[in-house]
């Protein structure tokens, strides 16, 4: 296939990428600006990163963000994997379509609605809003992503492997733990990374779910920006962007590599038999 790369294609591609990445690039560049004025370039410097790391308020927010991301993504991974397993394995049960629709619905529900409904729920339950409620809220929305990733792997999973495990004396849970889970592990891990990054950069839902005691980094940035831009925020945003980028790339690499390896194994198996 040697199709010529026409000038039209090249232009649209460039425009698209500029549109997508120009703001982020500018932000990253200005995070290395030595001037205090955000819009005036005065030479390269990493001093704002230093300032950032000495600012206790930002550090606190960072710790909270990481805690929330770790716990909520783990919770979401467990719940999402279980939901995916039930949806793919349990065969046809009454209300299955409804159930699977309901799991995927939060993917398209606006964050504001999700946040608001969670807020109402927390108030109704009389929960003290803080880090706990943020964790619950994040687990709720990222669980759908995990179950999408995991169920797409489970669909191609040979069910006779689970049957073989049962046949050899495993309880259903043991069969899941010692056969299914190790085989679908790449999908589970990439689901976890995905929900970790989703939790890192969420603002809207965190705002609804948090109380005065807990501020995450995106919330902190948002409130700072309303008081005026400062270069520290550029530095912080750059760090966040890097983390999220690494997470997303790792997640897709893991699932890609796993599926390539699986295909290769299947091809080898076919070639040999």
């Amino acid at each position: 296939m040697s199709r010529r790369f026409s000038w039209f294609n090249a232009t649209s591609l460039t425009l698209g990428f500029v549109f997508l990445y120009l703001p982020i690039t500018i932000l990253v560049i200005y995070s290395f600006n030595s001037s205090k004025l955000v819009t005036v370039w005065a030479g390269f410097s990493t001093k704002w990163y230093g300032v950032l790391f000495r600012d206790q308020a930002y550090l606190d927010a960072a710790v909270i963000t990481l805690k929330v991301a770790l716990v909520s993504s783990t919770l979401a991974t467990i719940l999402g994997t279980m939901a995916a397993w039930v949806l793919v394995r349990a065969g046809r049960f009454r209300g299955r379509t409804l159930f699977s629709g309901m799991i995927y619905a939060p993917l398209v529900v606006p964050d504001v609605i999700t946040g608001l409904s969670l807020l109402l729920l927390f108030i109704a339950l009389g929960l003290n809003r803080g880090i706990g409620t943020i964790i619950l809220a994040h687990a709720t929305f990222s669980m759908c992503y995990v179950s999408v990733v995991v169920s797409s792997r489970l669909v191609s999973f040979d069910q006779s492997l689970e049957e073989a495990a049962l046949d050899l004396g495993c309880s259903p849970f043991d069969a899941f733990r010692s056969v299914t889970l190790p085989i679908i592990a790449p999908a589970v891990v990439s689901g976890w990374l995905l929900s970790f990054t989703l939790s890192l950069d969420d603002l809207v839902i965190s705002t609804f779910a948090s109380g005065p005691s807990a501020t995450t980094l995106p919330m902190k940035i948002y409130s700072q920006v309303r008081l005026g831009l400062n270069p520290e925020i550029n530095a912080l945003s750059t760090i966040l962007i890097s983390l999220v980028t690494i997470g997303v790339i790792a997640s897709s690499l893991i699932s890609k590599r796993a599926s390539v390896r699986r295909q290769r194994q299947e091809q080898q198996a076919l070639a040999q038999s």
Binding site: S160, L161, E163, A164, L168, S171, V179, Q265, Q272, S273
Partner: protein, 382 residues
């Protein structure tokens, strides 16, 4: 294993003994998938220490039958009992049954040795040393001693099949279900493994239910053979009886080679039946069922090797037909002659090749006589 040696004079035939309780009993079992009936009204007894072979065309329900025994499918109707107890409510992991899957179902993330050890580790009463000794023993058995550390995708199809077999055998269960266990093996290894299986059964007293597409295999290893068609049992009998006395055209045609001649009863005497079957051909003298009436339609079935070929009309033989050699199929130890009769019917006859090819008695287009005794074939009504 301490098992009273059966004295060599008693034949192993528990199915003929009305006092012998069966190990497995299918009682009017039906299995439906949606509105498709995979097994319909099947009743069957399988006895302890049997080597029971299921034979039938693809899609006739053999795997479904096995899966119900292993506990992966529940019968839509009817009861399956094991050792006198209804096993309907028993989950697969609690059944004293192991199954070798048609797709092998090896665990891709575990090595060959760990695949074999998988069930042993879960039986809970073996030490680490015992398990690894048992794994080595199984690896030896299936001649994969050097492959223990490999992953399933690093070995060949036939080797994978042997690993699956070893894994199912490792726990030495009461009942072993083998779904086409030897299909991917070459002839020599298959013969050795068949022998091993029979040996294992002798030693452990395991009951085998085996699915096979290979009739020869069923004939060699099985104590009884069940021929299935569309979810029903057509005939269940010992290999010899299935081969010599098929109960229907279907079974006669399915097992081995056969000539089927459709006709009707012309005369019935004490000595046997006379069957008219084609214009201008002499009627066939045969032994047949008592209840067959004169004029009834029937099919005369005769195996090729029961027919003798000669160049002159044989004296004093019950049946003799004349024809012309149409084709000769050379199979090494035997040759199959396709002989066309005057009415166009082609009959297969087999002869052992006890001479070299160059000295073969008959050749293409030779006029020959086919002869057989009146007890060489069977008369079928179904």
């Amino acid at each position: 294993m301490t098992r009273p040696d059966p004295s060599p004079t008693t034949v192993f035939a528990p199915w003929d003994d009305p006092d012998e309780p069966p190990l497995i009993r299918f009682d009017n079992v039906t299995k439906r998938f949606g509105d498709f009936t995979a097994i319909s009204g099947l009743t069957l007894d399988i006895y302890a220490r049997e080597f029971f072979a299921l034979l039938g065309p693809s899609g006739c329900g053999k795997t479904t039958l096995m899966r119900m025994l292993a506990g992966f499918e529940t019968p839509s109707e009817g009861v399956i009992s094991l050792g006198g107890q209804d096993i309907g409510p028993v989950p697969p992991n609690k059944r004293p049954v192991n199954m070798m899957f048609q797709s092998y179902a090896l665990f891709p993330h575990l090595s060959v040795a760990d695949n074999i050890a998988f069930g042993l580790k879960r039986s809970g009463n073996m030490t680490r040393q015992q398990i690894s000794a048992r794994v080595d023993e199984m690896l030896e058995l299936v001649q994969l001693g050097k492959f223990g550390k490999r992953k399933p995708h690093q070995i060949s199809g036939g080797q994978r099949q042997r690993v699956a077999l070893a894994r199912a055998l490792a726990k030495a269960p009461k009942l072993l279900l083998l779904d086409e266990p030897l299909a991917a093996l070459d002839k020599k290894l298959r013969a050795e493994t068949q022998f091993e299986l029979m040996d294992i059964q002798e030693k452990l007293g395991t009951t085998f239910v085996i699915v096979t597409h290979d009739q020869e295999e069923a004939m060699t290893v099985a104590s009884r053979v069940a021929v299935m068609d569309h979810g029903r049992l057509v005939q269940v009998a010992t290999p010899e009886r299935i081969y010599e006395f098929p109960n229907s055209r279907y079974v006669a045609d399915f097992i081995g080679e056969v000539n089927l001649l459709d006709g009707a009863v012309l005369r019935k005497t004490k000595a046997g039946l006379t069957i008219s079957w084609a214009e201008g051909q002499p009627p066939i003298a045969a032994q047949g069922p008592e209840d067959l009436q004169k004029g009834a339609n029937c099919t005369f079935a005769i195996r090729p090797e029961k027919i003798t070929i000669s160049s002159d009309k044989p004296e004093g033989c019950a049946n003799a037909l004349s024809g012309r050699v149409l084709d000769i199929g050379y199979l090494g130890n035997i040759s199959t002659y396709h002989v066309e009769l005057a009415n166009g019917q082609v009959i297969k006859a087999q002869m052992a090749n006890n001479r070299r090819l160059s000295r073969r008695a008959f050749s293409w287009d030779d006029e020959v006589w086919l002869s057989f005794t009146d007890s060489a074939g069977v008369v079928l009504t179904a």
